[in-house]
């Protein structure tokens, strides 16, 4: 109750956090990604994952997929703050619509010989990961799926000689015939 001497009301509210995936359709112009990222850092929002690429080049449209964590109030703010940026066309909360598919791609390099090498290959097969590069002492696996599946695969590879991982971050799209 006793807050330190300050001109501000310092007690924070502690509502539980939620994780949401947002799809943001933007005009692909210089600085647009910096604007989006600057919004998150400037206002203290979290970015768990961010992917961006031009999706309709003739219209100069890019699609940004952001996974973020915050209280419901903060998530609501994030959407409004994104939406009011001049080059942003639309913001869709894929988590609220509930009818979306999320995928991520990872490339996973594993180094080893003997049993662990065989084990890595066996697990890769079980996870439907493909071998996209091989030497006598290493593999690079390509795996797609939702983020937790990829994390699980990486965890399994760790004791088998995990060298490094490159992940794309999450891309999301709605089910059914309609676009966003």
């Amino acid at each position: 109750m006793n807050q330190p001497a300050s001109a501000y009301f310092l007690e924070e509210r502690h509502d539980p956090n939620e994780t949401h995936t947002l799809s943001v359709l933007v005009q692909n112009e210089p600085g647009v990604l910096a604007r989006v990222i600057g919004l998150f850092s400037g206002r203290g929002y979290n970015i768990d994952s961010l992917t961006v690429s031009e999706t309709e080049s003739h219209k100069h449209l890019s699609r940004i997929t952001i996974v973020t964590t915050g209280t419901p109030t903060v998530i609501e703010q994030i959407k409004h703050q994104l939406d009011r940026m001049i080059p942003v066309y639309r913001v869709v909360d894929m988590t609220i619509t509930g009818r979306s598919i999320e995928r991520e791609l990872a490339m996973v390099k594993v180094r080893g010989r003997g049993d662990s090498r065989v084990e890595a290959l066996r697990l890769a097969d079980a996870f439907r990961a493909r071998v996209i590069d091989a030497t006598t002492e290493s593999f690079v696996f390509e795996i797609t799926g939702n983020s937790s599946k990829i994390s699980q695969f990486i965890d399994l590879m760790r004791p088998l000689g995990l060298v490094e991982v490159a992940r794309t971050g999450v891309a999301a799209i709605g089910r059914g015939p309609e676009g966003m």
Partner: protein, 591 residues
Amino acid sequence: MTDKSNDPNQMTGAAMIVRALIDHGVQHIFGYPGGAVLPIYDEIFQQSDVEHILVRHEQGAGHAAEGYARSTGRPGVVLVTSGPGATNMVTPLTDALMDSIPLVCITGQVPTHLIGNDAFQECDTVGITRPCTKHNWLVRDVNDLAKVLHEAFYVATTGRPGPVVVDVPKDVQFAVGTYHPPRKSDVHVSYTPRVKGDAAQIRKAVALLAAAKRPVIYSGGGVINAGPEASKLLRELVDVTGFPITSTLMGLGAYPATGKNWLGMLGMHGTYEANMTMHGCDVMLCVGARFDDRITGRTDAFSPGSKKIHIDIDPSSINKNIHVDVPIIGDAGNVLGDLLQVFKAEAKKPDIKAWWQEIAKWRARNSLAYKKSNDVILPQYAIQKLFEATRGHDTYITTEVGQHQMWAAQFFGFEEPHRWMTSGGLGTMGYGLPAALGVQVAHPDSLVIDIAGDASVQMTMQEMSTAVQFELPIKIFILNNQYMGMVRQWQQLLHGNRLSHSYSEALPDFVKLADAFGCVGIQAIKPGDLDGALKEMIKVKRPVLFDCRVAALENCFPMIPSGKAHNEMLLPAEATDEATAAAFAGGKALV
């Protein structure tokens, strides 16, 4: 190529900039030259449609443009050079963003081929100003310039207004391209501010208002930004409903201070009756305000028993700090018009006599009382005297930031919108003097007064020279308490009276300073001096520095202590040392 040479729309980038200003009806710009904008200055030299006001520091240009914009409802325009010119604009841009003031700032940039090379006076202007503008552009091709300039004016002035920056490299200013006058397609298709409120939400709001027993209207700067019509509608709504009305610092003047339903300003230094009415109301109608932390006090105890209606043009203002029950996104004027129509058709004036009786009791506490003195000028008294002296004049007030600003808000009565220019959101010391310049440029025959503090005024004092050069008879009314009074007040209340660096040591002699600038210096030391000195200040048609010596240790009350709710205000009569210490319990005890 030959036919193009006769095309009147073929011109240099620099010429396009001046042409665009003219096409947007700009009559005045505020600026400061430098290498990266010389081609534009060359164009300015060769025309007479746009008048350029040369400031003494780019920050001054920015605040002057803000004063110009706020007092006219038109965008303020600024022209500065690259590098330091641009970085000096960061404060006014941020100020304008916080207070939703339309500014168009054109910055020069080093030639495109040098960008990224750490060239002389290069800085990443769009990078630096990205978080302090509504939008900004770097123009790399002269053929994009016309479109960007038109879009810049559109973005600055529509929706929630705000500052924009157009960064133009020097080679683009020299290059020849095709200009076109403003047209609809110049604007981002992704930018579509919503003006009209949702009809169903408006019906819900009217139902709440009609059934209210203890209502309040809380209005803000958005009503002023929505134009004079919005203020008219707000007044009509107050008449039709009979509701009490309070306003934020930014919203003063939308409802007249002499209006019978006026409660005074609310918030940290608002009146007791305004804050108690907010605290005890059952229905709150918030128009064009944003539940800022200086307004709400403790958020979890803010107006606990009320249904809240929030009209705002910016969806991100809704539910940001305070959860509201009926949000209505739209322009304040537009929504107020629709709301009034529905109210008049479907509701009648609720009977709230009992509520007014309760409010009368709070009013009777006289929360703005202060002890009078015959020996020293009390700052509150000085503002009251100033207010009296300016009655009947066509007056505009700007302020700096500090105690004097709060006293000005409390004791100067505003009857009309656009008459009160203050740095609310950012709280920028040094705002008021250059803002007064801008106001005076827009209203050359009006009485423009900056209510200043001795510390703040030194931040942009150099602009007195601009006032003298352009014969702008601004009056700088300094409440000289020889302290950074507001800082000292917080140190007294919260930091054990250890007055760390809040004494205005080595103050200049403001009267001599006035003389040095070539303007008029006036001083008042005793209460008896005030009437005559004020009369003189108003009479003289030259810029004035008025050194009004006031009680050094006066503090600004009433006050909501930090972390407290609206109903825990500290009133002046009760602000004994012990009571204050208790109210600020948790802070350091007062000695």
